[in-house]
C-alpha cells in the first residue's frame, strides 16, 4: 500500500457503487467526479487492490473496465448511437458538435422510421417506441446520456462510441493496402 493511501476518501461509497455498476463519471456528476479527480491515485490504488481497473479517458471521465458482459444492453446502445451518427453525417455539417451539444427527441429520430435503420434496430430487439425509451434509459443508466422523458442529451462519456467508430475504421484500414493519404 502506498504511504499516502488511506480509506478516508470523500464520497467513496457513492463513487464505488456507481462505477461498479458500469456508470461513467464526468464533470456533470459534480462533487463525485471532482473528489475522484483530486485523489485519483488514492482511489485507483484502493480499487486496484479490490480488483477493479479504474480508467481515466482522455476526455476526462472515469469508468471501470472489466471482463463482464453487457451483451444485449451494449448492442442496443451501440447500434442506436451508430445510426444516430450516420444520420447526423447526412443531415448536418458537424456530427460531433450536433451529437454532443444537441438534444434529441426520440420520436423524431429515424431509428424506427427509415427502413434500413428499422432492420438494424430489429436485430437488437428494438421494435417500438417503448423499446427505444428503454435504450435511452440504458444510456442514462451508464452515464452516457441524460434523459428527460423522451428527450436525451449526451454526456462526455458518449465519446466512447466515437472511439468505437474510429477503432473500426483503423482495424479495417490496417487490414487493407493503403490507397490514399487522407
Amino acid at each position: 500500500m502506498s504511504s499516502e493511501s488511506n480509506f478516508d476518501l470523500p464520497h467513496l461509497s457513492d463513487i464505488f457503487d456507481r462505477l461498479r455498476r458500469g456508470h461513467h463519471l464526468c464533470t456533470d456528476d459534480g462533487e463525485l467526479f471532482y473528489a475522484l479527480q483530486e485523489r485519483e491515485h488514492l482511489f485507483r490504488d484502493l480499487f486496484e487492490r479490490l480488483g477493479f481497473d479504474l480508467v481515466r479517458h482522455d476526455r476526462d471521465f472515469y469508468y471501470f473496465h472489466g471482463t463482464g458482459s453487457l451483451s444485449k444492453t451494449a448492442r442496443r446502445m451501440g447500434v442506436f448511437v451508430l445510426i444516430l451518427v450516420e444520420h447526423l453525417a447526412e443531415t448536418t455539417e458537424d456530427i460531433e458538435t450536433q451529437f454532443m451539444q444537441g438534444s434529441f427527441i426520440l420520436a423524431e429520430l429515424p431509428h424506427l422510421s427509415k427502413e434500413r435503420y428499422c432492420s438494424y434496430m430489429k436485430e437488437v430487439g428494438v421494435t417500438d417506441d417503448d423499446d427505444l425509451i428503454n435504450v435511452a434509459r440504458n444510456l442514462e443508466q451508464f452515464g452516457f446520456a441524460d434523459r428527460n422523458s423522451d428527450r436525451i442529451h449526451f454526456r462526455t462519456p458518449a465519446y466512447r462510441f466515437f472511439d468505437l467508430c474510429f477503432s473500426a475504421l483503423d482495424q479495417d484500414d490496417s487490414a487493407e493496402p493503403a490507397t490514399t493519404a487522407v
Binding site: 471482463t67 453487457l70 453525417a89
Partner: protein, 415 residues
Amino acid sequence: MGRYYCDSPVRMHVNPQSVLRFAADHYPLLREIYDQPEGFSPADLTSVIESHADENPPSPSYVVERIQELHLIEERPGETATYEMTPFVREFFEFLLRQHHLATPEVLKGYLNELEGQTSELDESVRVDDPARTQRAVQKLNAAIESIRKFSFGNYAGIVDQLLKLKSDREQYSVKERFEIIVDLWEHYLKPLEELVSVRKSTEVAFNRLDRHLQQAADIYQLDGRMHRELLSTRHRLTRMRRELASHYQSSYTELLPLYDTYRRQNRLYRGASRLLERLSRNGLNSLGLTEFFALPVHRNKGLLADSEIESYLHIVHDYTPTAPRPIAIPDGAPARGFLSVEEALDELSRSLPVKDVMSWCVERYNDRPPRELLKVFQAVIREPSFVRYFTRRGTYRCNGFLLEAPTVTVHARP
C-alpha cells in the same frame, strides 16, 4: 434586332474607353448577362434590356447592336441564335466580383513548360547576341510569369471562395460532401501551389535558373539602356511572382488546414459508423465487438457479513474481559537441560593439550550428552585453526547408547 458581328472571324478593334463607358452605363444589364452563363436568345436579351431600361432609354435594338459592336457578347459555339458573354469580359467580371475558378495542375504545367522554354530561348538569344530575339523571349517570359501569378492567385482566391461557401452553408452540404470538397481542394488545387513554392521541387530550380539568366543577360546588355531595364524588370516580375506564390500558398494552407482536420475527423467518424452498420448487415451482431468494447467489471457480493452482525460481534468483543493464561506446568525434579557450549568445550580442550584422541576425550567428558552435541564439538576441534591435528586409523566409540565411528585425531597446540 440589330446586326450581329459575332460571326466575323476577325475581331474589329474597339475603343477601351467606349467599352468601359458602356459598361458603367449598363452595369445591371451586363451583370444579368454575366449571371446567365448558359446563354440567352435574342428575344431574351431584348426583354432583359427592357427590364433594365431607365427613363428615356435608347431603343433595345440600339443597345443590342452596341453590345455586339463592343464585343461584349458572342455566339455560343455549336448553337444558333444563342449568345453568351465574351470569355474575356466574363473573366474581367469574375476578377471584379472575386469569383474565381480553380485551375488544375495541367494548366500550371503548360505555363511552367513555356517558362522553361523561354528561359532556354533567352539564354540562346544572348549567346548569339540577337537583341530582337532576346526582346521576344523577354515578352514571352513576362506573359508566362504573369500567367503563373494569375494561376496562383486564382487558386488561392478560389479556395477561399469555396471555403466561405462551405462555412456560410449557403448550400446544404452533408459531412461526407463537405469532406469530399475539402479533399478535392487539398489534392487538386492546394498541392499544385505547394509545387510552386517547395524548395525541393523542379519549379524552384527553374525559377532560380531563369533568375540567373536574366541577371547575366542584364549584365551583358549593360550598355543597352532599354534592354537592360526590360531584363531587370522581368527579373523583378519574377521576384514578385515568387513572393506572391509563397504568400498564396501559405494563406491557402492556413485557411484549408483547420477545415481539413475537422472534416477529416468528421468523415472518419461517419465512415466508422457506416462501416460498423455495414458489418452488422453482412456478418451479424457479434461482428461489432460491442460486448468486448463496453466490458464492465463483474462484482458480486458473497459471504459478506451484514452490518448488524458485525455490530453485535463488536459489542461482544467490547465487553470481553480477558483472563490470565494458564501457566505451563513443569514436573518437580526434572533436570535442567543446559546447552553444551562449543566455545567452552574448545577452551577446556586447549587446557588439556596435547590430546591423543579427541573423540575419546569428548566421550569421557560429555557421555550424558546426545551424540549430536559431541559431534558438534568434534567438528569444531577439527576446524579450529589454532590446533595442529593428526589423523590416523578410524575407531569406534560408545556414547549414550550410540556407537560412533570416527578417525582418531591427535591434537597439539600450534607453535
